[in-house]
């Protein structure tokens, strides 16, 4: 039977990708260079050692503990021997023990991990229990006991270190195997009856291997540390002195009282060198395999480019006014991603605007920029955000903190992640109030929290529950209650209903709409689904590839859409009067924001694109009163 092969890139191509990302990893490179150096020393040891550490000819008592000199670069030891030579030859022992012991550990750990992860059930249970026991029993004392009861020899040391060093590998490999097992091609191979051994060899192992390599590097470093410790404790093989043993001799034979620091420092330095090189190399490999962004929400953001503060007249202006806002993501050594460009809209008291577009069109970026919550790489490169005439792009963080939540709050997408899992929901709502009304007495605060939860239909006795005890819909309501906590004037709702079932979606929408009417809120409703906002919106702004595709009041958008993208979105929207009609979705994906097309951003997917679209970017044309669209066709019509 022919089996579907694992999607295998050619291994050479993979290697070159790997090498090029390792080259950009200073930590891994330094480690690799340090390692290469010491391995070379170990291989050439007998050739480069200035003296033969085994011979005692020509050594007199005046040679004992001589400080470093031209004849003995690192001095001499308690037997008058050259420390540098013993050091060079000792590198062999450390590396040999490290590599062979790690080999044993990796084989055991790899087999245990793969078998446990792949077979699951009882086998997994037993194997993981054994691993747990091994992990909890202190290994060094056990190694000491075993070696003390047997004969200290190189073989015994390798064996004992190897046999105790596999637990971490087993755990890591098991979870990776579990992940691999549920992949499609493995399931398919199983379904068509491939043997377990075959699947493990051809499908699981190749995907676990990179991880195993990282583990191997780290295990070698741990094994070398263990060898040096055992040798230092006097359990090393006396016939092949390692660095640990040199230290054992020096420490036990008066180097400390003689002040012979060189005998103590040099071998230890060797151990640190090898272990550090392996650690750095291992960490480097790990980073190459699992790149981490290393960014977070508390990093200082990039300063707004147009930083001059120009407030508007509060009386005349709208509640929220966004003018020509442009936001770029600026990553080192990459082209800036132009996430949002030249977006303008206004929002009045009690109004609800829908911000519509597929994911990856810059909606979330735009929304986060209003309160300047952008990730560290994001920068407002142009434009202004006015709230009641106040220029939010120019406020300091402290000033902004008085606007955040108090005036403008956010209902985040996916309330599960936006609520802190280890604090109760009530506590997190109360926190927002306390921040902005610090003087509120405790009982009034609790009353207010209960009232807010009541407003969104959550019973008071859920107040002291944790987010994981809530259902999905309840969490989203709790998020809304939290957004209402400080009586804000504007609420930004970022896809508040995605990932909820239709019934609950409808409930949440209704809730938001009724709150708007009751409390006079202005709402920015971010969504990828035109249908969702149809009934509740006043205005709609359709975004595509970071720019405004079309902006108009809701009736105009639904009845007289002019931009091909809006028209396509409307086609994708299920018509309730014709329930049988098939949904069409626009083929293709929105453009990558760091590789935007030269002309119209919609051109690659536009069904009626023509020559000019690919060359020239259309500007935003007014098509009617308060109706704008950015399409060359619109201009042509006028």
């Amino acid at each position: 039977m022919k089996l579907t092969p694992t999607p295998k890139n050619t291994s050479t191509a993979k290697l070159s990708v790997f090498w090029s990302s390792l080259r950009r990893n200073p930590m891994g490179l330094v480690g690799l260079a340090m390692l290469a150096f010491i391995v070379t020393v170990a291989i050439l040891a007998p050739l480069i050692a200035p003296y033969d550490p085994k011979s005692t000819s020509g050594i007199t008592s005046s040679d004992i503990y001589n400080p470093p000199s031209a004849a003995h670069l690192f001095g001499t030891d308690d037997a008058g021997k050259d420390v540098l030579s013993s050091f060079i030859l000792g590198s062999r022992i450390s590396l040999i023990v490290g590599f062979f012991a790690a080999f044993i550990s990796i084989v055991i750990g790899g087999v245990v991990g793969i078998v446990a992860g792949y077979y699951g059930g009882r086998v997994e249970n037993i194997l993981m229990r054994v691993t747990d026991i091994m992990l909890v029993i202190p290994d060094l004392p056990l190694m000491v006991v075993i070696i003390a009861l047997t004969k200290p020899s190189l073989f015994n040391i390798i064996f004992v270190i190897g046999i105790f060093g596999w637990t971490t590998t087993a755990r890591v490999v098991r979870s990776q195997t579990l992940a691999v097992k549920s992949r499609k091609f493995v399931m398919r191979a199983r379904a068509i009856g491939a043997g377990n051994m075959h699947i493990i060899r051809h499908h699981v192992l190749p995907l676990v291997l990179p991880l195993l390599v990282v583990q191997a590097v780290l295990t070698v470093s741990a094994a070398i540390l263990n060898e040096s410790t055992l040798s230092f404790l006097g359990l090393g093989d006396p016939t092949s002195p390692s660095w640990g043993q040199m230290l054992n001799f020096a420490f036990g034979r008066g180097a400390m009282s003689t002040g012979a620091w060189w005998v103590l420092v040099v071998p230890g330095f060797g151990i640190v060198w090898v272990v550090l090189s392996l650690t750095l190399f291992g960490q480097g490999l790990e980073q190459v395999l699992n790149p981490r962004l290393n960014t977070h929400h508390l990093m200082p953001g990039k300063p707004t480019v147009q930083n001059g503060r120009v407030d508007l007249d509060q009386e005349k202006g709208a509640l929220l006014e966004i003018q020509h806002l442009s936001i770029h993501y600026i990553n080192e050594d990459k082209t800036a991603a132009r996430a949002v460009e030249d977006i303008s809209f206004t929002l009045n008291k009690g109004e609800l605007i829908g911000l519509v577009g597929e994911s990856g069109c810059g909606k979330t970026t735009l929304m986060l920029s209003l309160l300047r919550l952008l990730p560290a790489a994001g920068q407002i490169v142009n434009g202004k955000v006015f709230f009641n005439g106040k220029d939010l792009t120019a406020l300091s963080e402290e000033e902004l903190n008085t606007v955040r939540w108090k005036e403008i709050s956010i209902v985040f997408q996916g309330a599960m992640n936006a609520l802190n899992p280890v604090r109760t929901v009530g506590d997190q709502i109360a926190e927002a109030i306390t921040k902005h009304v610090p003087a509120m007495p405790h009982d009034k605060l609790q009353e207010r929290v209960t009232e807010l939860l009541d407003l969104v239909g959550i019973a008071a006795d859920h107040k002291n529950h944790y987010p994981h005890q809530y259902s999905g819909g309840m969490r989203q309501r709790a998020m809304i209650a939290m957004a209402l906590a400080c009586d804000p004037q504007v609420i930004i709702a970022d896809e508040p209903t995605t990932a909820l079932d239709v019934m609950i979606q409808a409930q949440i929408l209704e809730l938001l709409d009724s709150l708007r009417k009751k409390l006079g809120l202005a709402i920015i409703f971010v969504t990828h689904d035109l249908g969702v906002v149809a009934e509740i919106c006043d205005k709609v702004l359709v975004m595509y590839g970071g720019v405004t595709a079309e902006y108009a009041d809701v009736d105009t958008i639904y009845n007289e859409a002019r931009h091909p993208y809006t028209q396509e979105l409307l086609k994708a929207f299920p018509d309730l009067t014709k329930p049988k009609k098939k949904l069409s979705s626009i083929p293709g994906y929105p453009p990558r924001l760091d590789a935007l097309p030269a002309g119209c951003r919609f051109a690659p997917r536009c069904p009626i694109a023509f020559e000019r679209c690919r060359i020239e970017q259309p500007s935003l044309h007014a098509v009617g009163a308060e109706h704008f669209a950015s399409c060359h066709l619109v201009e042509a019509v006028q």
């Binding site: 004392p141 230092f232 404790l233 977070h296 985040f412 802190n420």
Partner: protein, 337 residues
């Protein structure tokens, strides 16, 4: 859940007891056989040992001895075998007699246990405290000079052999006039209490410093990466959107969440911690359990070695249990009933 964890800990302890017994019977250096050949012991002591360990009796049903393997009768009364006599003695708190000290093992180790707990306690608290603080700053100021310095010093500390760091510190410390080892200056017990305490601190200083440096690096690295994960979470952005200051966010939203993984790692690490303690106590001749292990290897004092290993293993298992329970107490997502 609580019962299950307790049962699991008991099971592990039982496993260690069995392992401890058979290891010493299977491997060449049987303590009893060794001990009886030991010329330091008087005839009465040898006889007392023979009776207490039941050395004339089979090791366990079906086996007369295990090294070399000698098959015996399977029909003997299990309670009349060496294994069950050993377990029975353990339950009575009798761990045998130290060859070197010629005193009951439990007595010798009892004093030393507290010294070790003192050292681990002081070192562990400092290491956790400093590790958390440095890790917090490193993660908060990620990709700055501060972060890189912390990262590299953490990796270097991780790569240091504990005993070597201890030697270097001892070398430096003795030049600075600190005591060269032990727990107290001889003859100190006749001095006033405050002087004794000061003396203890002087002796405790270097071992604790070594311990702290070794484990602080690791805790810092863990804290850093765990905090980096937490600070990238949506609820941190939500906290920022609420208008909370950076300090408030770190204190109220990031610290507890990022310390949870640390608790697990500390629990897992306890076994490794012992490795560090053995080395530090050896170098500083600190009279603790770890030192006892090293000394008994050199002196071939097998009953003490066996006892010390058992005691250390039990302590680690119990500490692990406590850490486990602490975790489930801290994290509301884990239920303990």
């Amino acid at each position: 859940m609580l019962l299950k964890r307790l049962g699991w800990a008991l099971f592990t302890i039982l496993f260690v007891v069995i392992l401890n017994f058979f290891l010493f019977r299977i491997l060449p250096g049987d303590p009893a056989r060794q001990g009886i050949r030991d010329p330091r012991l008087s005839l009465e002591t040898i006889n007392a040992i023979r009776v207490r360990f039941g050395l004339d009796k089979p090791v366990i049903n079906c086996f007369e001895t295990l090294n070399p393997i000698k098959i015996g009768s399977c029909g003997v009364n299990p309670l009349d075998t060496q294994f069950f006599i050993y377990v029975g003695n353990l339950l009575k708190g009798d761990m045998g007699t130290s060859f070197y000290y010629n005193r009951p093992v439990e007595e010798v180790l009892g004093e030393r246990l507290w010294n070790t707990i003192l050292l681990i306690g002081a070192g562990q608290i400092l290491a956790i405290l400093l590790g958390v603080i440095f890790g917090l700053f490193a993660a908060w100021k990620v990709r700055t000079a501060l972060d890189y310095t912390a990262l590299i010093s953490g990796l270097v500390a991780w790569s240091l052999p504990t005993f070597w760091l201890a030697i270097i510190l001892l070398f430096w410390g003795t030049n600075m006039g600190l005591p060269i080892g032990g727990k107290a200056t001889p003859g100190m017990s006749s001095y006033p209490f405050m002087d004794q305490l000061g003396d203890l601190f002087q002796h405790l200083f270097l071992p604790t410093l070594a311990y702290t440096i070794i484990y602080m690096g690791e805790y810092m690295l863990i804290m850093r990466s765990s905090l980096l994960d937490v600070l990238a979470e949506d609820y941190i952005m939500a906290a920022k959107a609420k208008g909370l200051s950076t300090f408030q966010i770190l204190k109220d939203h990031a610290l507890k969440n990022s310390m949870l993984p640390l608790v697990t790692i500390i629990a897992i690490n306890l076994g490794f911690t012992v490795a560090g303690v053995i080395q530090i106590e050896t170098v500083f001749s600190w009279p603790g359990l770890g030192g006892a292990i090293f000394e008994s290897v050199g002196r071939k004092d097998y009953p003490l070695l066996q006892g010390a290993f058992l005691l250390i293993a039990i302590c680690v298992i119990l500490a692990n249990l406590i850490a486990d329970l602490t975790y489930s107490y801290l994290d509301p997502r884990v239920q303990v009933d």
